[in-house]
């Protein structure tokens, strides 16, 4: 039986009108871990759609399954029930076609490779068709502000710089979707602010769809066109909210009444989760 996608809220990202498939479409997704008897439901009946080009942040209490949902889209978690489609394909197909890239909380750089060699890693592994085109690693490092540090080894870079390398590495395959799992969660606030600003700029320049998991309400509001909020026990969609803030967004905007109103609203929602 094919379950119909359920629209829980009217402010869901509207499906595209021109018939192209959405970047990510999740319907009636269930994720269960463990064996019979000691089963644990991580996600229950999750449905949502993300249009191409959107920047959606995912927020929720710890253990609500935000990371699980992201890993599900990335084909890193087995789907128990329901369906996930990425650009109209199964997640496995999308992964093999390099339609998305993943940025982890830890930069996960290979410590024996220089910054630029780490960025080149995706060019050296996996199935490569002859017509695959890659972005220029040198230009990407310049784009993330690491010009001149191409030959630095990871231990010679700061935490923020390592994460910049990881972002450059994610972009080298020219992905249409960027999945980010608390990528700045381990960084100090000043570095995080700077990277947030640069991520916004990057998104505007490249038009990449971004799905960004965070546990920071201000980060979610500052970055997101939409905030997808999950509730826990079991993990389910609580709210899919459009963030109506005028662009271009600047760090100073976080001190405006409007910004604070939205974060307060989300905080109140989060308390019900």
């Amino acid at each position: 039986m094919i379950a119909m996608p359920i629209t829980l809220k009217q402010n869901y990202a509207a499906p595209p009108t021109d018939g192209t498939p959405p970047a990510v479409s999740v319907s009636n997704l269930h994720i269960r871990f463990g064996n019979e008897g000691s089963e644990f439901t991580a996600l229950q009946d999750v449905s949502m759609q993300i249009q191409e080009g959107a920047l959606v942040t995912m927020l929720g209490p710890s253990g609500c399954g935000k990371s699980t949902l992201l890993r599900c889209i990335a084909d890193l978690v087995h789907i128990s029930d329901g369906s996930v489609s990425v650009l109209g394909q199964m997640p496995r197909k999308a992964r093999e076609g390099r339609d998305f890239a993943f940025v982890f909380q830890d930069a996960t750089l290979l410590p024996w490779r220089s910054a630029i060699e780490n960025v080149r890693l995706p060019m050296e592994v996996g199935r490569r068709d002859s017509d695959t085109t890659f972005a220029d690693p040198e230009q990407l490092l310049a784009l993330v502000g690491l010009k001149g540090r191409e030959n630095a080894l990871p231990h010679e870079l700061s935490g923020g710089q390592r994460q910049r390398v990881a972002i450059a590495r994610a972009l080298v395959t020219r992905p249409r979707i960027l999945l980010m799992d608390e990528p700045f969660g381990a960084l100090d606030e000043i570095t995080r602010d700077k990277l947030n600003e640069e991520l916004l700029r990057l998104w505007q320049e490249t038009g990449t769809t971004i799905l960004f998991v965070t546990h920071s309400i201000p980060e979610a509001v500052f970055l997101g066109q939409y905030v997808l909020m999950l509730a826990s026990h079991p993990g389910r969609v609580k709210e899919f909210m459009k963030i109506d803030l005028p662009g271009p967004r600047t760090l100073a905007m976080r001190d405006t009444v409007e910004f604070i109103r939205i974060t307060a609203q989300l905080r109140a929602l989060l308390e019900q989760c």
Binding site: D75, A107, T108, P111, W112, L121, G126, Q163
Partner: protein, 277 residues
Amino acid sequence: MTDTIHSAENTVPVSTKKAAAANKLLAPLLDNLPAALAIVGCILLWQLIVWGFSVPTFMAPSPVEVLYAFKENAGILWTNLLPTLMEAALGFVFGNLVAVLLAVWFVYSPLAEKAFYPIAVIIKSIPIIALAPILVLLVGNGFAPKIIIAGLICFFPTLVNMVQGLKSTSPAMLDLMRVLSASNSEIFWKVRLPASLPFLFAALKIAATSSVMGAIVAEWIGSSFGLGALIIEATYNFRSPLLYATVVIAATLAVVLFFAVSIVEKKVIRWKPAAHD
């Protein structure tokens, strides 16, 4: 005006370069000075004790007598050093090679690890000195039992470390490789194997010294050549200065092999393990 500035710019780097070069030579010397002084002090103390208590030479020779023994027996020491070096080196190569290959198999086949790891532990727990006569009976009295024992002594630490090293890759790194649709062999060559190198070299440094010990112990059992045989012969004939000289040669061989591995390690591993932010 500009000329003087230029000349100043030219002279300063040269002089600092010279100073840096001098520092490069001096720094290690100064670094090792305490150790060198301590060794010299111990040798002096040894000489004084032998003199002061009139210890007979057969019981404990003085450093000077050992030095004479080096001079008088240079030929014997050299011809017996070569077979021991060869046995230790071949044992090192084969023992470690088998250990590395077995570690790779264990990492990819949990069943193999379950089945053969206990056997490796059992072999490890047999005293090497008890294994030597058994091997002599099995493979004769030539080079073979010595190489096998030198190899066996290297084998276990390398196996344990290599298994740990190959498993040291973080789950996040493996997730990344999966997202990149990397094949198993790509993950092995690009991630697992390089990540295991620091673990491997830690074991190889242990193996470098213990392979010499293995070769010498093997030579104790009915052998007519090698440093081990020379130790037995010198002991039975009360040629204590020769015995001591042989022990010094054996220790030097182990130290040289240790430093050889250390130098290769420095060339291969120029990175530090991932600092987690």
